[in-house]
Symmetry: C2
Subunit: 373 residues, 2 copies
Amino acid sequence: MTAPHSTPPRYTPLIERLPATVPFVGPETQERARGGPFAARLGANENVFGPSPRAIEAMQRAAHDVWMYGDPENYDLRRALAAHHRIAPQNIVIGEGIDGLLGCLARMLIDPGAPVVTSHGAYPTFNFHVEGHGGTLHKVAYVDDREDPAALLAKARETGARMIYIANPDNPMGSWHDAASIAAMIADVPDGTLLVLDEAYLELAPQGTAPPLDTADPRVIRLRTFSKAYGLAGARIGYAIGEAGLVRSFDKIRNHFGVSRISQAGALAALGDQAHLADVCAKASGARDELARIARANGLAALPSAANFVTIDCGRDGRFARAVLDALIARDIFVRMPFVTPQDRCIRVSCGRPADMAAFATALPKALAAARS
Amino acid sequence: MTAPHSTPPRYTPLIERLPATVPFVGPETQERARGGPFAARLGANENVFGPSPRAIEAMQRAAHDVWMYGDPENYDLRRALAAHHRIAPQNIVIGEGIDGLLGCLARMLIDPGAPVVTSHGAYPTFNFHVEGHGGTLHKVAYVDDREDPAALLAKARETGARMIYIANPDNPMGSWHDAASIAAMIADVPDGTLLVLDEAYLELAPQGTAPPLDTADPRVIRLRTFSKAYGLAGARIGYAIGEAGLVRSFDKIRNHFGVSRISQAGALAALGDQAHLADVCAKASGARDELARIARANGLAALPSAANFVTIDCGRDGRFARAVLDALIARDIFVRMPFVTPQDRCIRVSCGRPADMAAFATALPKALAAARS
């Protein structure tokens, strides 16, 4: 059947030159390569405590209705989120996780050569989408393991950036800025620049981390997810809050039927169980303390964290931290680490149940010894 | 909080000029506007017979694991599909339904002004994605309510098209070409053109509708879905089969974690229950016969169909068919119709259970009378 004279499709020049890189290798890929499962899954900042039982039940009920497409307007969920946040539904767009929404945003604002500002070592999937649309990334350094609003703003002014990315709380460092600092940053966003404020971990952060929502302000879009504190990572559902014109623009390009019907039902039920959310946040707080204790017991410093993970300074360079990470993985503990110097002196460990924490506590001293030898 | 001097984000010129259109209005939107539910949901070619009970159970089990991200490589499902089709996993890419895959394809091959060929009145979501990337659509007419391979190929040669779209079986007409005709079309695809062969309804078609898979051929990509015969529309999961280089290119841009973990589990179980699939196909066949009978009993002609719907020629022009459609909707029957003349002389009715068919049989004569008056 093969036609010997056929030629490949004509990709766009941009696609031709993109690498076939993947932002993250999944733990399943690592398990297949290792030939066995991890004992503790603490690398992807998933919510090991799980979602609300009401969300699980809602998804199980929705499975019976899965022959129907999901509502492309995500009407019920948007209304519930609007009530929850005391904003209007037209200021909310639902997407296939924050990653899906970042992809749409990049497509809306970035054409080849468009300048975009982020931090060295910040969320790589944002970079994947920006570069995937031909944007030019300009990066500023973290300062004291935090993203630096002043430097981000200065770089945006210098380059005429279309977007600035900041995560608050930050991943992979767990650091955060208070609401006043972020509000001041928003007020200082240059005309024609959009601040992409990734608040994936916000529910886990201290009160006073997020400034009030101002849906009249076109300079900022705020990204939230059901993947972290709500425990629905596998359901792939997140949302953005922004000015109505910006939100409406997603309709020009988004995959309208792209969010699973089951996921919509799960997110709606998860949102309705704020008591469970509070319980998860309390458990994550306990696990953060436990991770800090384990780090100290091994002579290491745990960075303060406002998220469901703790970044542990291994006290030497990136090569050493990588050796610790590899030694943990060899001991069946799935963890990850920052990609970029100087943050890569650290490993990043997700909050887990007592058994997960105990497994990490057992493995860490051995991994450190292995890395030091 | 609002900054009076702030300006909107700077969209790309392409995004600025795109309309905020939506390819399809969902039935839920119509129900909200009507103030009540439809009695029969026969407009979106959903599988009213439902998925395999094993798929439902698998999704219900997977709901417990939804705190974990889904495998971004979709490894298990790709392996199972590869075994099912006797091809290699590297020739399969999973996406958020065929719609999601079409979006990636358009992004890979289309830059502003790139020519693309399709038929007047063919799948509008393909057009949505092509125009969303700035492509220029060139359309040829249906002939005898079928897409016309010779005209599509001629137009592709004339325009230097990057892609040709054809659906086999076709939506919205239900018509189809036999495998030999499609194989001849593939053999005649111009160099540098990709044939996008949408086989969403293939499992419901007669044997001999699809030519053998030839994964060495870079001139064609074949799109399949779990939304139709497998009954998982709400799970948003489909796949493409193509040459390995083309399949690998999706990794450059796709939302790697975009397919729900629950949907992956459901699709895997659905694929494993071929007996249920056969049962669905038999029921759809019976419903097609029943829809044809109802049409004849009302003096109308049902077009032959190889899909899970029947397109009924209302015997007059588009205005009349629209009146019939509106009258059906007013009688709580959700149906749709082709958008473009001359196909818009028809309405399109999905296969349903006996109760759905009976509701349609009751409503149709009244709707015809209303439309005629």
